[in-house]
């Protein structure tokens, strides 16, 4: 057996990830998002620092002097804005976002109880994993990212029958519907959903994603908009919120994801 420790890995591979590591400090980037008010700042910092086990204490304290909407908008969501920027810059990894979102969810729940009703969100997104497909980790990540961007999510789960999706979307008229599939033989549910929605007169943008799914396939049927990763979700949904229909989102897809649209 060779002495593998004598191998010079530098001659065999380049660690581009280490070369590209950000030199910026997370605190500096986060600072511009954090509120000045010391009580709301504590709430935002709890989100930023993923303190999901202790955040309720600081949210309760903030609710004594602030209306619930401000605790959400100026505290919890500001903390999440900082997390999103750190994630987009490659400084935070996905687990930071997920655990921060857990913290934000707990805080929002408490604030909503004080509000006495659900808060107004930017719009509802209906999500599902395709009929016959038990893989839903991508959908769950996308759901967290969408919620973190101010949308409400109705998660229908995995292995959801085509007709159940069509009925739910027809009934609730969400801003966007999403579907994920890991297998080529389950993603064929998507064009069937799209066809039935159009028969019902529904033109809701239908974001489709997952391991087996590709852009060419999704753009082969009406309503379909491709997403190649969960992080694309908020950018695409934001355009639906701006009033773009599925055809325009599809046409401008490259620009939306590159940030030029």
């Amino acid at each position: 057996m060779l002495d593998f420790d004598n191998i010079s890995s530098d001659a065999l591979l380049t660690r581009y990830d280490i070369i590209a590591e950000s030199k910026e400090k997370p605190e500096t980037i986060a600072e511009k998002h954090l509120p000045k008010d010391p009580i709301l700042r504590k709430v935002a910092e709890d989100v930023l620092h993923m303190k999901y086990k202790t955040i309720e204490e600081n949210v309760s304290a903030a609710l004594k002097d602030n209306i619930p909407e401000d605790v959400i908008e100026k505290g919890l969501l500001k903390g999440m804005d900082a997390v999103s920027e750190l994630y987009n810059r490659g400084i935070y990894y996905l687990p930071h976002v997920m655990v921060s979102a857990d913290a934000m969810d707990r805080g929002i729940k408490l604030a909503e109880e004080a509000l006495g009703a659900g808060r107004r969100t930017k719009g509802e997104i209906i999500m599902h994993a395709a009929e016959g497909d038990p893989h839903d980790i991508g959908k769950n990540i996308a759901a967290v990212l969408l919620k973190s961007n101010g949308y409400s999510v109705l998660d229908m789960g995995k292995d959801v029958a085509v007709d159940d999706v069509v009925d739910k979307v027809t009934e609730r008229k969400p801003l966007v519907v999403t579907g994920t599939a890991l297998m080529t033989t389950t993603m064929s549910a998507f064009p069937r959903i799209a066809e039935k929605l159009q028969i019902n007169g529904v033109e809701t943008p239908f974001i489709c994603a997952g391991g087996a799914v590709n852009r060419e396939y999704v753009e082969s049927y009406p309503l379909g908009i491709y997403a190649d990763k969960a992080a694309n979700g908020p950018n695409l949904v934001n355009k639906a919120l701006d009033g773009w229909d599925w055809k325009k989102i599809r046409d401008k897809w490259d620009g939306i994801l590159s940030g030029s649209e």
Binding site: D5, I7, S9, R15, I141, T184
Partner: protein
Amino acid sequence: MSVNEFKKMAYSSADEMVFGESKHPKHYGLGLKVGAGFVVPEINFAPRPGTEKTPESLVREYVDYITKDVLERAITLGFPAIQIENEHIFQMVNDPEKFEKPVVIGQKEIMQEYHDEYGIACAIRHTIADPRLHEEGLRLGMDTKHTYPEKMMRAFEVAASNGADVISIESVGGKEVADHAVVRQDIKGWLFGIGYLGSLDMEWLWPQIVDIANKNNIVPGGDTNCAGANTAMFMAGGYMDRDIPRTFAAVTRAIAAARTLVAYECGATGPDKDCGYEGPIVKAISGFPSSQEGKGAQCAHCDMMGNLIAQTCDLWSNESVEYHPEFGGSSVQCWLGVIGYEAALMNASKQLKSEKTLRDIYVASDRFRSPEAFILSFDNAYKIGQAIVENNGSYYLRAKAAGLKAAELIEESSNEGKLKLSAQEKDALDRILLDLRSLPSEEGKFVDWALKEYADVPAFNPKNYEL
């Protein structure tokens, strides 16, 4: 825990392990020998979207197009032996009589024809889909909505009695907790999901698969933690990915080995599943033949150990490729060429008595490409295997020991300046070491804690595991 634990390592040293050699070679199918001094290509594929609509179109795709293309190319290139793997699609497990049976029969018939005419040694592995939904119930009688557990067992029966030579599965026990944990970088949750719950599900599932295989005189192959450790590996990805740190994925792989081993403890005999990158660890303990995939599976996914993982394989696979035309033929023909030629290279090295040199070159090229490649290098895989065997008697303790050993190996090499880690990888490693070392030394205490800690995880139902 299962009774037939491996009391000691199958190999007396790591250096004894090499591709094409297993302690328990298998002979099956139409003259195929696996792990008997020869590496065999294992070709896998997926039908084109839409072909699943009717049994007729599915049979045409699988039999008349894919299987025929594979055999034609194997003969064309002079490959002496191949294994075909059919990873069943959902429709085949949802309605086995209608969709699965004619495919299984048709594939075997055409293989028999080529075997009779050309003498090619061949066999087919049928990998049954695991459609079970944790929220509906994993065990028989629990899922009253879809009856997926019953359909899955029926699908095994249909495959075994109609032409399968090997049956396997990529089972999903513990995935609901592992999925929750992986996106939160929570190694304790992942250990509970795969190391403990996953092992319990395997202990329930595999004796049934072994019974079906034995009843039909075919081979109960093995499992893979595709649902858990591959999810972590793919999320960790390469140097442009930032979903989870690669140190986290590496440790999940070691934990997964303790769980995948359960199939063998329940009577499976190998070859295990190609996508189980934990294969080198499992082989070091069990000595059963191992199927692996790496650079010949770039059609399916990008991994960080394309050469290295060939080090101890007995079957060399392409993972899966969608059937479609390429310049050089159909996709299955092109990728069979890739894996078949690699197998020929390995087999030539054996004739020249240079197989350990080639093995070491494979390892050298990728050893420091990622922490997961590093811990799966056969010398390290062997050490992780030893940690598992030394902690037998508890699914929890041996999975924890495997994870901890992997983390310590990474730390040691990193401290020596050999395996380079990014800041995120280093931070994640430090937390993993802290978390694993903080866990109790008694299984009962851990399980009591975990049942409370993860009680609210969506779809987690302790009854799925008789807890």
